[in-house]
Amino acid sequence: MGNALRLSDALESGAITFEDVTHLVRTLRDQAFLSRSRRLHRYVGGAALDTAQEKLRHVADQLCANLPEPSFAAYRELVCATRFAAVFTAHPTFALANPVYEALAQSASHDVPPETAPFFKTHRRSVHPTLEEEFTLAVQAITRARDAIDQLNSALLSTAKNTWPEEWSTLCPGPVIATSWVGYDTDGRTDIGWWDTLRLRLRMKLFQLMRLERQIAHEGVLAPELSETLQKAIDCVKAQISAVPNGATDGQAVARFAELMVNGRTTALTAASDLNTLLQSAIEAAPPSAQLPLAVARAGFMAHGLGLAHTHVRLNASQIHNFVRQKLNLLDDPTNPAQRRALLNRVNDALDGVTPVPVDFGALLSDPSSAGRLMMTIAQIVKYVDSDTPVRFLIAETETGYTLLSALWIAAYFGVADRIEISPLFETEHALVKGEHIVEEALRSPAWRDYVRRMGRICFQFGYSDSGRYIGQLAASYQIERLRLHIHDLLVRWDLTDVEVVFFDTHGESIGRGAHPFRMADRLDYLSPAHVRKRFASSNIHCREETAFQGGDGYLLFGSPELATATMATIAENLFLSDQQNSDPIYDHPDFSADFFSSVIDNMKGWSLIPVTLPCSAHSARHLSTAQARARQHARVRKPQPAVALPTPASCGQSPTTPFSSSLAGAPTRCKVLVPPPSATQKRLKHSIPPAPASTARWILHAMLWPVRTTRCSRALCACSTPDSGWTGRRKRHPPSGKRLFWPL
């Protein structure tokens, strides 16, 4: 404040001018720009193309060397299953002007960081990005990601070619894919109509077909039938795109578009597998030097289907409820626990007797409901754009299994139940803390279990960024891990270990929204700790990790070929060469971890910490309630209402397991116990903290406590626990000496 006053005085007296201040701000801004570009360079482990390619080759060689059995079949099984998806999201977070983003990526891509920043009068974007601009930026990033994926596939195929020269050409690896929800995510957006979704999805199809055509032409391979099929499909899709209506008002335009879509269905291709035979023939007929590039092109094409990236659509749970309420006359409130069971029974009955209705563009034109329109849009995409690749159907703010069953009923009603992957998004406090009940409510339904088995996949989405608003970023990450373990137990209990589990972690690009600040490798470790992975591996459950790259800043990780390849190399190392860490303080001391993160949650919700002397065994969850009761008595405050717990299924015959059930015995020690403040105080606290400043304060809290979570509580828990507890941290990943460990405020 003193500096600000001195500056103000200097400006008032004329000692400095406004131009001097402007120049100073630009200088400091450019220094920060260079600092950010160097950070980005380090974040991906150095953006040198050769180094990244060497890493990819190393991954492939190690994979081949460490196969469970040295056979082509074992290698194929390992590299052909999708293990990771990079999801390109597009919230309105494009803060910088496009040329500044490009300059940032270029600066970060140099081996030797530049000394000076390129001059820009302002780094700010002049106007908010349009949907078209968001899509263009996303496509640029996805294209670079696809190129990097091709390099990974090239390394995998090259190793296979050297090891199994007779069989390698049939290999179609696809461990990493790109996915996009740009143009399809309609949760909280009113500027995206069904015509926009269809137009952008068709453009993604066009880019994919053109990419394959370009890759074949680049190798100079003569495959007339394949080229002709591709060219006809490209022409047809171009015509379809040009006919997409600009709104829902012109029925004639929609009818013309429908004609092109329906009549051009075969010409435009409806499945990537339509070209499988032609591609295999082309590879076998190609000269030896062109075989590998063609196999790489085929791998990318097959893994992504008829789109440059896979498709995620998103809707809010309330929109699902509204549609089902109208169609099934279910007027009860699904958020009311007293009415939920009756609702679940009724929607289950409805699932047994659902008869699909036909869908045409006329139905799409007239449907006023968001859920109906989106589901019909998916039906049309499945019929006329890509029949093979399933569409992920994300449901924001899912807080009950009823939502999942309702979505399944809508999908069955429109005849696409076997083509969409319904995924709850866990982000609210209730969803994160009681998420396993939501999953179990759905799993109790035979229709849902049949659906999961038919799809061979069960999908979950975790919202890191928004969950920070509810219980704080630190606690959210722990609750998400805990929820994953509960999901594991549920899948084992319901005998669903043969289905693939998809965990999609959605987060922003800053520490306050769930992205690790130091290194890409840490970011991936943070999202998917080894302990959880091992738990699933121990039950032979295949897991696919998906993680978000948020529009604007997240695209920088694919901002240049160098950055994209380095990012892909880090992903590949994380997938295939992750360390065999045996110790994790979070799980080595589960009771203390549970108490610690519960304290964080309660602290975020306005509870207070009151130090009292208790036996050490109070650390265990079992004894904590007694400790709290004693402390409450001491503080003479009212006992809070207990949470409602759902009973276990009668059919399973066993109680739910919890990974945090052990207890510690020891001498009495001094610890902190959570005590709720009196209700009047609680109300006053709630009213005294306005939303915006509170969120700012919480962001700062996250920022301050981030290193704690980063090193898995090693430091802070040591300080909070007994001094000789021997916590060493799961994996210390401190930046090099002298570098910033923490973002200053």
Binding site: S8, V25, A32, P517, G552, A719, P744
Partner: protein, 152 residues
């Protein structure tokens, strides 16, 4: 009660400050050598506070005006104190118009005065500097965003 007091933010601000301070003390207790704010970031914050003060001082020089479409002087001050400068400048452009430029056409009468620049002084001395300062304020936000990685 007008001005900052009228916004009634003081208690909430102090609540937030105490919350941050408590967290900060807890962090320092657990981690004595936690890094501190770097000088260039402190300087950027200082410039930002200085610019906010200058904008508020400029606001005091805006002449009184008759309410226009429900937008009165008091409302204007509230917007400025909340740093909603674009809204204020948009209204000011209508309330203190700069004219459309002197016409040189022949209107078939002796030429009268062309008073198109009657509010030039207000725009030159108040609104234009206020706009420039606000733009610089936002540029500081970008600089801080680059530096601390708070985006998204």
């Amino acid at each position: 009660m007008t001005g900052l007091e009228g916004l009634n933010l003081s208690a909430e601000l102090h609540t937030m400050f105490r919350r941050i301070q408590a967290d900060h003390l807890a962090l320092r207790e657990a981690w004595q050598h936690a890094p501190r704010t770097e000088p260039r970031i402190r300087l950027l914050h200082a410039i930002r506070i200085m610019l906010i003060e200058r904008i508020w001082l400029l606001a005091c020089r805006i002449p009184f005006f008759m309410p226009r479409g429900g937008f009165n002087h008091e409302m204007m001050m509230q917007h400025i104190l909340c740093l909603d400068i674009p809204t204020v400048l948009k209204e000011m452009k209508h309330i203190f118009p700069t004219g459309t430029g002197p016409s040189e056409l022949d209107f078939h009468e002796p030429r009268g005065p062309r008073e198109e620049g009657i509010y030039v002084r207000e725009h030159r001395d108040i609104f234009t500097p206020m706009s420039e300062m606000f733009e610089l304020l936002r540029e500081i936000s970008v600089a801080l965003m680059h530096d601390i990685g708070a985006f998204g």
